[in-house]
């Protein structure tokens, strides 16, 4: 063998070995801060990093969200790091930092609670979607007023509903249902009206021996559906009465609730099962890792099919979550019409327990579940008691909880609903002046007019 040949072989084999040795793959950093559900945050900076990473990996709307989350990291990491070096951090600065971090995110379910130790239990809360409100947050006062206006109508035939709609201790709406029967255009024709404050109807039906539910909810449900066992439509309710020529489902101010209600109370308004849209979940740590779209059907469990007649969904900017899914369903019916304002835009369903959400899926609620549960009792505990509980439990750690959608929902045409809402077929904006001063509910009037005149 010549020296030249030997040299050539040496070069060839050395190259092969070098190629192998230089094999390079990037190392993963996804578990730098571990599971946000189980990580104990002991400083402002660690809390920020954990929250940022949790949202980075577990927020379901990154495909459509326009917020540059990496830029938010670069902007706010120094802010939280500075908090750790400051002798005193004001709650205003702490709140402002989280407001800035979450500002403009698409998820309208999104709510974050962030606890700062050493502040006597005080905490920051963000709810970026609430900035969209076109009229004041629904406190129950509007519901009360609209029902007053309804009850004073000259064409009212019958009304079934519990009058006390507001909890005097909290000024919040109490769960309840309301049924009304109004005169139609011609003699003998009637219009059936059904309203409920949130999607807890099945719960109220199943807990029928609860005296409050019995008084506040079951009678209107039975009047409209013909049964109060949450099994869907029957021939015996006014909705199916031959004299009723149109139906109004009033979802205004309804913030949603349990999806269990959709089939028996909304699906049964149709004559078949309904494709409402498509859903998907996050499918990996990457912001754009998604499952395939899954068809989203709502069953029609009626024991008796509803006779085809105009159905109007009355909605406003405060109609959220399940109320929006219901709006989508009614909008898709051949005899369905949506009147009012665009809905809130919080259509992504979620599993609120972080232990069964972020631990098991790549999207959904995350953080300290107990923090959220305590905060949920805020209305009943009162602010001082809430602060006392928080301070006793979290005096030396920085817990947080983020309430965010597990599912991304789009409509039947794959249009994004989150942050956009469901557009009404006939837009009628809330008119506070006419409601409170002239005793006229303009949105309701338009619904009555539509059923009477067909347009």
């Amino acid at each position: 063998m010549t020296m030249k040949t030997h040299l050539f072989r040496t070069v060839v084999f050395s190259s092969l070995i070098l190629l192998t040795l230089s094999a390079c793959r990037k190392e993963s950093t996804v578990d730098k801060f571990d599971n946000p559900n189980s990580r104990t945050c002991t400083s402002y900076a660690i809390q920020f990093e954990t929250v940022w990473q949790g949202m980075d990996q577990g927020y379901v709307f990154w495909a459509d969200d326009t917020v540059d989350w990496d830029e938010r990291y670069r902007t706010f990491k120094p802010v939280f790091e500075a908090f750790d070096t400051m002798p005193y951090v004001s709650m205003a600065a702490y709140q402002a930092a989280y407001d800035g971090l979450f500002q403009g995110l698409l998820d309208h379910h999104l709510m974050g609670i962030f606890f700062a130790p050493g502040k006597n239990g005080r905490f920051a809360v963000v709810n970026p979607g609430s900035n969209d409100y076109s009229h004041p947050t629904y406190s129950g006062a509007e519901l009360e007023r609209e029902l007053q206006v309804l009850r004073s109508r000259a064409d009212l035939i019958d009304y079934v509903g519990f009058d006390a709609t507001i909890d005097p201790n909290t000024s919040m709406s109490l769960p309840g249902t309301y049924f009304a029967l109004l005169k139609g255009k011609r003699a003998g024709e009637k219009i059936a009206y059904f309203r409920f404050t949130d999607f807890s109807l099945s719960n109220m039906c199943y807990n029928r021996y609860n005296l409050y539910y019995k008084i506040s909810a079951l009678a209107p449900i039975k009047a409209f559906y013909g049964t109060d066992d949450a099994s869907g439509m029957t021939p015996y309710g006014y909705a199916n009465d031959e004299s009723v020529v149109g139906i109004i489902i009033d979802l205004r101010g309804n913030p949603g609730g349990k999806t269990d209600d959709l089939a028996p109370f909304i699906g049964s308004l149709s004559q078949s099962i309904n494709l409402v849209g498509y859903t998907r979940v996050k499918d990996g740590f990457g912001r754009l890792d998604y499952s395939p779209w899954a068809e989203y059907w709502v069953n029609c469990p009626s024991r008796h099919l509803l006779q085809p007649k105009p159905i109007v969904a009355l909605v406003d900017i405060n109609s959220g979550s399940c109320a929006e899914l219901s709006t989508l369903l009614i909008k898709g019916l051949p005899n369905g019409t949506v009147i009012g304002e665009r809905t809130y835009g919080a259509a992504g369903a979620l599993l609120s327990n972080s232990n069964y959400s972020h631990d098991l899926f790549y999207s959904g609620c995350m953080g300290t579940q107990e923090l959220y549960e305590d905060y949920g009792n805020y209305a009943y505990l009162g602010y001082p008691e809430l602060l006392r509980i928080f301070n006793s439990q979290y005096h030396n750690v920085f817990p947080f909880y983020i309430y965010t959608s597990t599912f991304n929902l789009v409509d039947k045409d794959f249009n994004q609903v989150e942050g956009v809402g469901v557009q009404p077929d006939i837009e009628v904006l809330y008119n506070r002046n006419r409601l409170w001063n002239d005793n006229v509910d303009v949105q309701f009037e338009r619904a009555i007019s539509f059923i009477k005149n067909g347009r």
């Binding site: 063998m1 072989r9 060839v12 084999f13 190259s15 092969l16 070995i17 190629l19 192998t20 040795l21 094999a23 390079c24 793959r25 990037k26 190392e27 993963s28 950093t29 996804v30 578990d31 730098k32 571990d34 599971n35 189980s38 990473q53 980075d56 990996q57 495909a63 989350w69 990496d70 990291y73 999806t259 859903t279 998907r280 979940v281 990996g284 740590f285 990457g286 912001r287 754009l288 890792d289 998604y290 499952s291 395939p292 779209w293 899954a294 068809e295 989203y296 059907w297 709502v298 069953n299 369903a349 069964y356 631990d359 098991l360 899926f361 790549y362 599912f407 929902l409």
Partner: protein, 247 residues
């Protein structure tokens, strides 16, 4: 088997077998009485190849214990090969192969209906260029290594997902040209390939062989669209047979 083990195995193979190979080749070169009829006397070759593969999807699952990837999802490989041998002991080989780089994933949710499987079938066009050392005459041993480039042609997913209502099944083609995919998926593929083979030569010009080969991807299958990206790679082992004609 981890990537470091694969690299170490290849390296060890080269280091152990090279002296033997060189010695054997020296002997063959020096021995003028070797049966020339059993060796390809031409420089160029072409042929077909095909076989089965097993893809190992490299991904860090971190704290997501509910998910697991099944190592070595099966697939298939087929294509064409071209060879050039300036000497009998050395061949430059260029292949064009259609290659599956599939993966299985299980999602176990005891509280939500149990078991959510997902099978992702990915077809790639890979073009490996290797330098191949040949040892032997009638029956030849081959050791080879090199690089490959490729392109992600198609993707298909079949499985079951969690939905608002129920857990519907899906069986869908992934649109790799969709806006979402264009932001996320890196369709370019590049990496190292190496392996070993055994072949037999008939009638001077026909060579039948089998080989085992690894494709070790060093391109993330995702684009760098976010800072804290969880890298994902494919390592594919192929067991294939080939029929080669020497010109």
């Amino acid at each position: 088997m981890k990537k470091q083990h694969l690299s170490a195995l290849l390296l060890a193979s080269f280091l152990l077998l090279m002296p033997l190979a060189l010695q054997a080749q020296e002997t063959a070169s020096a021995d003028q009485e070797a049966p020339a009829a059993t060796q390809p006397s031409k420089h160029f070759s072409f042929g077909v190849l095909g076989g089965l593969d097993r893809n190992y999807h490299i991904i860090d699952m971190s704290y997501m214990d509910a998910y697991s990837y099944t190592p070595f999802a099966p697939g298939k490989s087929y294509g064409l090969q071209l060879g050039y041998s300036p000497w009998k002991w050395l061949t430059f080989r260029l292949d064009g192969v259609m290659l599956d780089k599939n993966y299985y994933r299980d999602h176990t949710l005891t509280n939500y209906g149990g078991f959510y499987p997902d099978t992702t079938t990915n077809q790639y066009l890979n073009v490996p260029l290797v330098i191949m050392l040949n040892v032997g005459n009638t029956v030849r041993l081959h050791l080879f290594g090199g690089v490959y480039g490729g392109y992600w042609l198609s993707s298909h997913r079949k499985g079951r997902t969690m939905a608002v209502f129920g857990s519907p099944e899906y069986d869908v083609d992934v649109d790799l040209d969709s806006p979402l995919s264009q932001r996320r998926d890196n369709r370019k593929d590049f990496g190292y390939t190496y392996g070993a083979g055994l072949s037999a030569i008939f009638a001077k010009m026909i060579e039948l062989g089998v080989e085992i080969r690894w494709y070790y991807g060093i391109y993330d299958i995702q684009k760098e669209y976010m800072t804290n990206l969880n890298p994902r790679y494919n390592t594919t082992m192929v067991l294939q047979a080939g029929l080669n004609f020497w010109l």
